[in-house]
């Protein structure tokens, strides 16, 4: 398998990206190839600093970089020689099988969508993230690819994320819920109501109805679908809330007993390890023809390593075939929105 990696994307690029790729390389088979896309001189100097040989990776020079703050579609047009533009072009020409980036999410999504094209039947791709919870992993889609959702998009997220949950997490007949502001059927926006009706019309989706913010962590659904805006807020808020709570607990413990506060650190560490969604290694952009994995902007080497290994698993398990099969069974007309 040939995996293209955006050496220039992310808060800790290129150092942590290259370090993560080096870790992954040791775990991949000899038939796998990692392709570093980015500024060649920079990549070479980092490889040297990390004491890796100059031929460790195939390097494809990309003289331009899309910044985190650039408007995705504009940036792709203006910077055809950026790592993201080159990577997705390589994928579109089937010169690589997967692309991976911790850079500008919007540009990755737009590049993957425009260049790699969508799978048969897919209207709009969506990013799926696995949130580890006490009651098991919850697959959430979309978390930021699509902030102008139509009912058909959300409906397809239900089908695609359901297929993901089933194949990748081994959950039989995953329960699918829609993020809403109340448990009651009458609640929600027009978008939510139309989506609900669409999902309910498909007997292949194990639909459990509305999921409120607090329900995500209470094991009420295996898959939660929502607009990209809401999903993105949910993801970042969860990080923020957990971070704040640990800080508050630590402070409280410090006031009571410094030794206990110190000891609590190991508890926090263990919990972070157990519930760390970075372990799942990047988020798959569901619905593109190929493998496009999007990593958190703050990804360090470990996350990149896991994301690279995830690319391989997505491919080996044939997630895209599974998605296409699930959509083929769909009883909903894709023209309906």
């Amino acid at each position: 398998m040939r995996i293209a990696i955006d050496a220039m994307g992310g808060d800790y690029a290129p150092g942590e990206i290259i370090a993560g790729a080096l870790e992954a390389k040791d775990l991949l088979g000899s038939q796998d190839e990692l392709v570093m896309v980015g500024n060649e001189a920079t990549i070479r100097s980092h490889l040297q600093a990390l004491k890796a040989g100059p031929d460790t990776f195939r390097i494809i020079h990309a003289p331009e970089v899309i910044g985190m703050d650039e408007s995705p579609v504009d940036a792709l047009r203006k910077k055809p020689k950026s790592s993201i533009a080159i990577m997705t072009r390589l994928a579109s020409h089937k010169q690589v099988d997967a692309v991976l980036s911790a850079g500008n999410t919007g540009a990755c999504v737009a590049g993957s969508q425009l260049r790699m094209r969508t799978l048969e039947g897919v209207v709009r791709p969506g990013i799926a993230v696995v949130l580890p919870t006490y009651h098991g992993p919850v697959t959430m889609c979309d978390v930021g690819a699509n902030i102008a959702c139509k009912p058909i998009h959300l409906y397809q997220y239900a089908v695609m994320a359901g297929a993901y949950s089933n194949l990748m997490l081994g959950i039989a007949n995953p329960r699918v819920g829609i993020m809403n502001i109340g448990e009651e059927e009458a609640k929600g926006t027009d978008l939510i109501k139309k989506t609900r009706a669409m999902i309910k019309s498909d007997p292949n989706v194990n639909f459990v109805g509305n999921i409120e913010g607090r329900d995500i962590f209470q094991g009420k659904a295996d898959v939660v679908i929502c607009e990209g805006f809401v999903g993105n807020v949910v993801l970042k808020l969860t990080e923020g809330a957990v971070g704040m709570l640990f800080q508050v607990i630590r402070e409280e413990l410090m006031q009571r007993n410094k030794l206990l506060a110190f000891w609590f650190k190991s508890v926090v560490k263990k919990i972070y390890k157990k519930y760390d969604y970075h372990e799942y290694g990047g988020a798959l952009l569901l619905g593109v023809d190929g493998t496009s994995v999007i990593c958190h902007g703050s990804s360090k080497a470990r996350t990149i390593k896991n994301a690279i290994l995830a690319c391989k698993t997505f491919s080996e398990k044939k997630i895209n075939e599974h998605i296409v099969q699930a959509l083929a069974k769909s009883t909903v007309n894709t023209n309906g929105d």
Copy 2:
């Protein structure tokens, strides 16, 4: 001050509602009157059970109840004798100064908006909630009154919640942020972009730009504005995430040392007390002509007591005058959306 209380609204109504009102009564002045609105026989039997005299409260009989799952506007029309309909009608006739309910939020909002009318210049009321964070209280608006926001609504939430933060929390020149999916200016939906432009055009708002999910807890803004859908998800998600984390910590501690797990309970209790938004006592519906306070559906006596006392504070501090003054200074035309 005359405060009407929806005896029938909420998961623990009427028992906890009446118990909370009894607690509040002891703390209010003799010139204050609590008016219980609900099924008279039920209220009387609860008063008896709580060993309170039959004349403890003025009781106004409401033979109908709006359920949590009813569509707000339909329910108000079909049930003119429900506690919420009667309460808001009393307020519209200036027979009470404030209304308070832990019942159907949508019906409370619709009733308050339709009957009590909006303050001068206000286009759409919004619910403001105070989230206690490590870096201080954050006022969030809207958290569920308005799920079809226009830029002018969000702009006015910025002004009104800013006035709230200033007057009620004593924050001078509060920093106002808008909930978005990235820090960068180019990010967000059309609604967000138009709202940003509107807020930036008003020199009276101390605008700090985009706030991401994780930033809420990091002291980047004193006021965060968002659509009701997003705000509602944020609120409930925070509850859910905190609840799950405490459960996970407890479990981890139990496996290590049962005594420590037991001792940790007191830490959790203290943190809950310090960061419990129920302490703030209900959420004010900003922008209605009068005082309408909305409580969490799961409110128990303590929350109801605090919410009743908050009604009094809102009135004493003249929050509505403060809001009207802030809006009067607005440089934005209310017709613009």
